[in-house]
Symmetry: C2
């Protein structure tokens, strides 16, 4: 896999397709990268395993929070001008989905992850598809220009499992406890709503470097 | 107490002095009010009771989240240009603090709440004072131009307890599950980080009304 630490010119984006706020952040990353000149490394992890590791629970477990989340996500989608439809399958077991992403990375390289992840996010959070289904995964991989059959065949391979576990442990070791988790160097930015703080942080670093 | 529902020209701000994100939001509300032309109603509630009512827990209970929170709050303070110092007394039992605020409202009227709350927030989140101490509360009330002795004397009065309980139940009935909880009409905005969404929401309402 890629390096576990990043410099101040790289954003490490840990995400799980099952997180609606990770989807929201994913729609904005290209803009962040353009405005800041930062590179983005897309790092699939398994959010359920992160929760278990740190003793956290999914936000939607609190009923009042789940109700608010839907209106909040609708407002973010209007704010960003991106489509959003609460999935009828939420919450979803994304084990196969996340494995598919690390399999794509192993088979087709780092550059394959972002377009495949965008296709999966869109399928789940706009088209309401079951992106935990190997057949759906295979088709979406094909549409993203990848070898869908090869990825489907690699879903349960030991090296795929190991790679996803390693990325998840890497995120937890760096301090992640939820999704999306974005890092610039050692600094964690948790949540789609922290993208403006991330940009401000990068600007401060740059200004400091210029002096 | 004041009305339980608000129109689209009012922001209801439910807060607990013990919440650092409520402090951050409190530093911004005047600006939000000026930019949007909205009135703000400052509504003290007891966050611990809200958590209990909805089955939520305080964010800092997750160790990894607590670690992140400190850096996050530091970044917000830089972003806003406001002072911040993590209290050595966090988390604090703010029962008396919140009662003092409703007592001030009963004794001196709605307009007394905001300046007293700002003084308490600053004392806790900048000066590291124990704002659960009646003597500290009395002194800060006096500095905020209130009758400190009268407020201190009212801390354990049944009508004070009832008023705080009523505000807390009101917030929970409207859908609050954490702090700060801001409402515009029926719409909840949870968290300091949602102030930009709140402003965008108000702008959309206004534009809709103009048509």
């Amino acid at each position: 896999m890629s390096n576990t630490t990043s410099g101040n010119d790289t954003i490490d984006f840990y995400f799980d397709i099952g997180s609606p706020y990770a989807y929201m952040a994913a729609t904005q990353l290209e803009g962040v990268a353009q405005r800041t000149g930062m590179a983005v490394r897309w790092k699939p992890f398994l959010l359920g395993a992160v929760f278990k590791a740190v003793g956290n629970t999914m936000p939607a477990q609190i009923q009042a929070k789940a109700r608010w989340m839907f209106s909040d996500l609708t407002m973010w989608s209007e704010h960003y001008g991106v489509p959003f439809k609460l999935s009828s399958r939420f919450p979803l077991n994304t084990l196969k989905t996340q494995r598919a992403l690390v399999a794509a990375q192993r088979i087709a390289g780092d550059a394959a992850v972002a377009p495949f992840a965008r296709a999966l996010f869109h399928a789940y959070w706009v088209d309401d598809l079951d992106v935990s289904e190997p057949a759906v995964i295979e088709e979406l991989a094909g549409k993203a220009g990848l070898d869908g059959a090869a990825i489907a065949a690699a879903l349960d391979a030991p090296e795929t499992k190991d790679a996803l576990r390693a990325l998840t442990e890497e995120a937890v070791a760096r301090g992640a406890f939820g999704a999306p988790a974005l890092f610039v160097g050692g600094q964690l930015f948790w949540g789609n709503d922290r993208l403006p703080l991330l940009e401000a942080h990068v600007r401060r670093i740059r200004e400091g470097e210029k002096r």
